[in-house]
Symmetry: C2
Subunit: 663 residues, 2 copies
């Protein structure tokens, strides 16, 4: 069953270059046609030609002040010692913006007037011509260029155009981009999904990205996995759009028809690029019913959009995994859509930071790894996120992409790396990195923080309590969440801090007390009543990862009952969050797991309480002066957070003071 | 007639603080109400609450590869040397995304399958449970927070929400902002304007800015300068909006009614702030018919938007000069509109650069000066633009604001200053600064450059040929435009370079030859035939500024005819551009001026040719390797530019090589 998945995997820059050169022609100068629209509605549009002033602005000599309009000649020679006098017919009161009456060429400000009882004015200084006057064309003169071609109009640009009498403006037509979701498994968003079915949400992501780049997305109904249907949909969309995207079916498996369909109604330029994720991309052209002769002449004719409907239309087969889809759209669709409007594709902002852990990557592939970034102390730290191409939440959490070039097999822990930012530096700076024990209450805390202090946020990484303390010690996060029971003293957290971060002072801030318990299926079919039942041969268990506080608690509880881990069926099966443990129980792959009540409640599981534990946030003392940390601690002690904990169930708000631990 | 213009001019930060505290309440925590909308339409909106996953994603155990689904137990112990065999009922073919059939817990990839002729499969390695499977909840588990509150939804966030079954989402209502233009002088955009009338374009600028910040602008019909009409319009808008802006009439002159109207239907908190431009701002509240009791209790009640229609509505009187209007809206409206949505007001990006010339500023006023910024060599240079509050084109050309604090009387030439950017660094980096002689063809050249090379542009400063060469020498621009005739040799430009930039090597690139001539009113009513007529007592002239090539040319032409400048009536009246000279002639304030044909043509003037001159762009040699300069020179030699010159009239394209001048 082994087969050649791709004819050829092309370096993505080469693929991008071939695609853009083919579609945009020599010098990549193809643009969408111009259209003339009302200037007042042109904010965000790109000028197709320079816009020349139709009238001068101001279009008349205007008073620049409230006062009186005079003829400067009538004031010649006037001074403090030898004041002049203006008769009633030698001046006219004017307000700012009024036109200068005929024969007047200057304005004296109200504040500097000396009226005489007989209605005349005394003038104590000669007034230069055009003083306090905005002459015709001071801002712009008819015939001058107000904005150049290729300029994205901002609100103030539109104002300047309207001031200059430019009431319509030639702009580039927004490229119309057809989006065709493909796949038998797709159901419309909001409908019930059976196993094997998925809601069709990729088109919403792509349409949103395209709209941000100035294109007009047109989402077509999903097409089943049938080569003829995919081809027909492509041809139909090509007749109506400047660019056609399909989603899914772009790989080379038995149910993947994008490349085949594109070859049937056009031409495949590239199938497969050397990126991870995003490898299964198809780049090509759709000819519709007008398949041209091959050869040099036909190639010339490929320049697409500027030639109108008779020309071939560019097409991209986007992979179906969401992260792959986003990356492929960034790499191959964005530059095309921007260039068609005469815009550049500005490079992403780049930031250099220290990698928190080793990152391995296969050679020969350019890997795009989503990362979280945080400013800890004086340093930027870069933490890789999970790399699955289907992880939509990694796109939500990502602050940037870390690119591992094809010739590099990865980066070492602590190495300085370059990140292409997906958020602004300011947004990233507002975010606190909390590493350590997973707790659903942390997400709630972060949400309240952002709601109460716009611009601040909390990003948590679930590595377990022990690894969190280690990360805190090496400056990789602002705080570590931990709930580590010391078997000898019964004390929480402080003994571990002394052991793991010997010589460092750490502040432990009590966040809450929480109920841990055994999660079981609704109705507790196996009749589990406590820790001792986990040793039963008919009970399967799902565990948390080594180093997590919950695992430490389990080991302590088992020890109390004299049970060996080897007696627990499934002790080796590790999950990284309470929620993942809950879902394993809910989906029937385990009978029991240890975790917090809120996770059990969320999935409707039964819960057998076994212990209440103390959850602390650990900080290095210097951090407590950080305004973000102060805001976080204020929210953590707020009534709102206490109420939120109560609603979640299984929590008791902490009220105690922070404890300092260490030398 | 002297009067107190403002009761009190408040430092703007204090005014902003008072306004925001009053409107948003203690801690500035007031937000617009939440509304529930379809998630698919929520891109750009701000979450009003954390959004919890409704279903887990994936919602079933899914094959992560094309291959066969197996039970891992059936592969236990298999190895290369001791392969296992799977019967036909021990495996099921699956494609990526298919649900795992009951009893299966792992997938073997197609590439690793060894089918036997009898339909069985050979397995050469034990498969761990959950290998090549995306388990339920791998991405997100029902009940987990997908996005926190106060989060501006990006396309990928919306995708993650839809994957998690979140089909509706609670977002902050967009604040509705009423905009009331005021003034008898306003006419609708596109209608004919008489002297004293102006098109009402400020509301378009403000509406565009508000939309960018997430608000919904509602533009009301213009209101005449009548205190009752302004008050009625305020009350009506307050009943329908979360915030009311008036434009114009915010000063304290005889025709300014904003403050009075606001006091009549509400309360004025601030009238006048210490900024330039933007001083005449009114900040206050509109009570409508519900003027509350004054005192502490009433003050509590002011927290506005969250309380619904019964509460007072904040109002801002925006000044009518466009630059003032933009600044006041940035300072007082933006933070309110963003905070009401739960968003932060990120500080503008800041850049440090060297000021090209001395900048004086009055003490006691915080001045916001528009500046152009450019990267010349390794340095950022900052060039102040004209400061008039009515100059809409200065908003088009500005790259940023340079703020001169109230306690500072200005900055010295060459001083390092901080600029708050209005464009991205990338946009600014793409822009070439050309300083020196004004020529309309430069704008055309810049427009072609941007059209052909998206991201590149040209920004010209009209300081005259001589000042341009000096600026080039001191590294303040990329190129200097010049057309300087040496009286002794008859040679253009090179002798001046030798004189002004002694010891520097300069490259002179011939841009074009252009016709200079005398511009006169249509029909040439004064019968002017040549330079000698400028000495006639009945002819008034308008000149260009000292140091401009056109002035040098005039002086040479006058010298040829033996005419003294003192004989020319109006020799001292200086304009900075050809267009301004043309408009002086067109508006009848001068009978004649010297300039290029294109400027005369634009205003329909008659033109008497007197000389053809050579216009060069001067560069320092190192600059010629700059990719932006190379692109510029390529466009300057293109057929498109030659055609554009021909269309403008009075130009001849240059074809000669660049000349190197200097030691």
């Amino acid at each position: 069953m082994r087969k050649d998945v791709y004819l050829k995997t092309v370096p993505w820059r080469e693929a991008q270059g071939l695609f853009l050169d083919t579609v945009l022609g020599p010098g990549r100068r193809a643009r969408t046609k111009a259209e003339v629209i009302a200037t007042a509605e042109a904010v965000g549009r790109v000028t197709a030609a320079p816009a020349f002033a139709v009238v001068s602005w101001p279009h008349y000599h205007a008073a620049a002040m409230d006062g009186v309009a005079v003829s400067s000649r009538d004031t010649a020679g006037a001074s403090e010692t030898n004041p002049g006098r203006l008769d009633r017919d030698q001046y006219d009161p004017v307000d700012t913006g009024d036109p200068l009456p005929p024969g007047r060429d200057a304005v004296i400000m109200s504040e500097e007037l000396h009226p005489l009882p007989d209605g005349r004015l005394e003038v104590i200084a000669a007034v230069p011509p055009w003083d306090n006057v905005r002459p015709v064309g001071e801002d712009v003169v008819a015939g001058e260029i107000v904005v150049p071609a290729g300029h994205r109009l901002r609100p103030a640009d539109v104002g300047a155009l309207l001031a200059a009498g430019v009431v319509t403006v030639a702009v580039r037509r927004r490229p119309r981009v057809g989006i065709i979701p493909t796949g038998d498994e797709l159901v419309p968003v909001g409908e019930a999904v059976a196993p094997g079915q998925i809601p069709e949400f990729n088109s919403v992501i792509l349409a949103g990205m395209l709209a941000e780049w100035g294109a007009v997305p047109a989402v077509y109904p999903p097409v089943p996995d049938d080569p003829g249907a995919v081809r027909d949909a492509m041809v139909r969309a090509a007749a109506e759009c400047d660019l056609v995207l399909t989603i899914g079916g772009s790989s080379a498996g038995s149910g993947d028809y994008t490349a085949r369909a594109m070859a049937e109604c056009g031409e495949v330029l590239v199938h497969g690029v050397n990126t991870r994720p995003g490898k299964p991309v198809v780049l090509g052209l759709i000819y519709g019913d007008r398949r041209p002769q091959h050869g040099a002449a036909a190639r010339e004719d490929r320049t697409v959009v500027v030639r109108g409907t008779r020309a071939p239309v560019p097409a991209v087969g986007i992979p179906g995994y969401p992260v792959s889809a986003v990356l492929a759209t960034e790499l191959f669709v964005r530059p095309l859509v921007l260039t068609l409007q005469g815009l550049s594709s500005p490079a992403a902002e780049v930031l250099r930071g220290r990698l928190t852990r080793r990152l391995a990557s296969a050679a020969g592939v350019e890997e795009f790894v989503r990362v979280r970034v945080g400013r800890v102390g004086d340093e930027w730290v870069v933490a890789p996120l999970s790399r699955g191409a289907g992880l939509t939440t990694s796109l939500v959490r990502a602050d940037g992409w870390l690119v591992v070039p094809a010739g590099v097999e990865g980066f070492a822990e602590g190495q300085e790396v370059e990140v292409q930012l997906l958020r602004s530096r300011a947004e990233i700076e507002g975010c606190l990195l909390v590493t350590g024990s997973h707790d659903p209450a942390l997400d709630v805390l972060g949400s309240l923080l952002g709601e109460r202090h716009p611009g601040l946020g909390l990003s948590s990484a679930n590595v377990g309590s022990l690894a969190g303390l280690v990360a805190l010690g090496s400056g990789e996060c602002h705080a570590a969440g931990c709930h580590l029971l010391d078997a000898e003293t019964g004390e929480y957290n402080a003994p571990y801090v002394r052991r793991l971060l010997a010589g460092r002072r750490v502040v432990l801030f009590p966040l809450h007390f929480r109920q841990q318990g055994i999660m079981v299926a609704p109705g507790n079919p196996k009749g589990i009543r406590g820790i001792e039942d986990l040793a039963r041969p008919d009970v399967s268990f799902v565990n948390r990862q080594r180093g997590s506080g919950t695992r430490v608690l389990l080991d302590w509880l088992l020890g109390q009952k004299g049970i060996s881990p080897r007696q627990v069926n499934g002790y080796a099966r590790e999950m990284f969050t309470h929620a993942q443990v809950a879902v394993a129980v809910e989906s029937g792959t385990a009978d029991a797991g240890l975790g917090v009540l809120s996770a059990a409640k969320a999935l409707g599981l039964d819960f057998i309480p076994v212990a209440e534990e103390q959850y602390d946030l650990a900080f290095l003392p210097g951090t407590l002066e950080d305004h973000r940390v102060r805001a976080l601690l204020e929210v953590a002690r707020s009534g709102e957070f206490a109420r939120a904990l109560e609603e979640m169930g299984g929590y008791r708000p902490a009220t105690g003071d922070a404890r300092e631990v260490g030398p």
